[in-house]
Symmetry: C2
Subunit: 268 residues, 2 copies
């Protein structure tokens, strides 16, 4: 029988965005095998309801359990906002989301205690970031939240440095600039791709790409539970599954993952 520690880490997202998280985990833990699931037939999640997101997340968890993963990373802010607690209660393996690590990192960075967060409509309306910040002990912070629903379609249409994207960013971020935040959490896995544009509009503000913090959290939990892969020399395998055609995911994954990967179809 295969030792639990030798089993893969499962990572899921509504589509390609979660590959930014996968990439950070690959860097932090290069020996781990990874099973990635992108729900490309039902993407995006960011404008859908709590109930629907929980239903989709559970279907993906069942897929992950059938692939015998040792841990699951919910690499999607919307799914983390709505379904993380539910998944943690319902499954016997560790389930890690992206909200808590992002908040932790923002607390570490902010000097003036004014933190911004941007995300999809659903993520922002869930108030998951506010709740997480309220839960953490110590100094109190002011949080300013803003949804940026066009950022995902802009990235998915490869308008990463386009004038249109710059204008949309201006429109969304102006109110946050007025709040004098010094730290901004990029609360959606697509947003790190727009770092340049967001950075221009929010000059002088520190941008938190939660994927790095998530990778560290994954290492911490695997270590705590004695589940780190024993392979010290071998580079871990990564396999992606998608619910729509693998072709366009394959074409697109490079922007996010910066390496080639196997992509297969899996209808849930």
């Amino acid at each position: 029988m295969r030792a639990i520690s030798a089993k893969p880490i499962g990572i899921f997202d509504s589509g390609v965005g979660g590959l930014t998280v996968a990439r950070s985990i690959r860097k932090e833990l290069p020996n781990e095998d990874i099973i990635y699931f992108g729900d490309t037939a039902r993407v995006p999640y960011g404008n859908k309801s709590r109930e629907t997101i929980i239903r989709f997340s559970k279907e993906i968890m069942e897929f992950m359990m059938s692939r015998k993963v040792k841990m699951v990373v919910v690499a999607c802010n919307t799914a983390s906002s709505f379904s993380l607690a539910n998944l943690q209660r319902s499954y016997p393996i560790p389930v890690v989301g992206v909200i808590k690590p992002g908040v932790k990192e923002a607390r570490r960075l902010s000097r003036n205690g004014k933190v911004g967060v941007i995300g999809t409509k659903s993520t922002i309306s869930s108030r998951a970031y506010e709740k997480e910040l309220a839960r953490s002990a110590g100094r109190s912070y002011s949080l300013y939240a803003r949804s940026c629903p066009l950022f995902v379609p802009l990235v998915e249409n490869k308008l990463v440095r386009d004038q249109v994207t710059y204008r949309v960013a201006e429109k969304y971020l102006k109110p946050l600039r007025g709040k004098k935040i010094d730290t901004l959490i990029l609360g959606c896995t697509h947003y790190p791709i727009l770092k340049t544009v967001i950075g221009k509009v929010m000059k002088g503000v520190m941008l938190v790409d939660s994927s790095l913090a998530v990778a560290k959290e994954v290492r911490r939990i695997l270590q705590r539970d004695g589940l780190l892969s024993g392979h010290v020399k071998k580079r871990g395998k990564m396999t992606c599954f998608v619910s729509d055609d693998p072709g366009s995911f394959r074409d697109f994954s490079g922007i996010f993952l910066k390496e080639k990967t196997r992509v297969k179809k899996a209808v849930l």
Copy 2:
């Protein structure tokens, strides 16, 4: 037993967009009952593959059959492009798409034989409009096609007359302006909402909103098959079903339908 003619017309779309078609059918045939299905849990369709769209369309057809509709209107250009022939082969009731009526109307309007069509990525890549135009007898036309993938998210985020939308329209439509088309098919049910902006950029070009032509086609087929509703005095009932939360669909439907409607949830 209820006469077939007294049964409702089924209309489906990936989301709210098809309500522009429902509205035209309500105007053309006010006595007909209507069952509308919007697949809001899996919206949008416009960037998904042929195989996935056919799978979704068949699931919705099964729902329509269970509601005992006398006819189905595929009020989504992407679903019409990919799955219409398949549905027409597989079901014993008339199934009407939006491509053919749109092409017919464009042929009627165009003076110089140069016609443009805009649609989602999937609709344009399917070449359904080219094929339909090639099938029609008579004078030959030149067709210029262009995908406008950001138009749907712009409408869904209510940026209908925003400066950003105007810029995006300029970007997408400039190449069509260069082709000297005199007629432009709005090949996506969301696009009639952007008529003002599109009309500004394409000054002097006739815009084809296929929903009117579809409504006429629906009347023609019901008449031909003796299926027009016998109710001459009563206003037909309309019920909408959606796969995600009814709340946001309800809020949003007014822009498209211009009347209040009942909305229920139906997970397929």
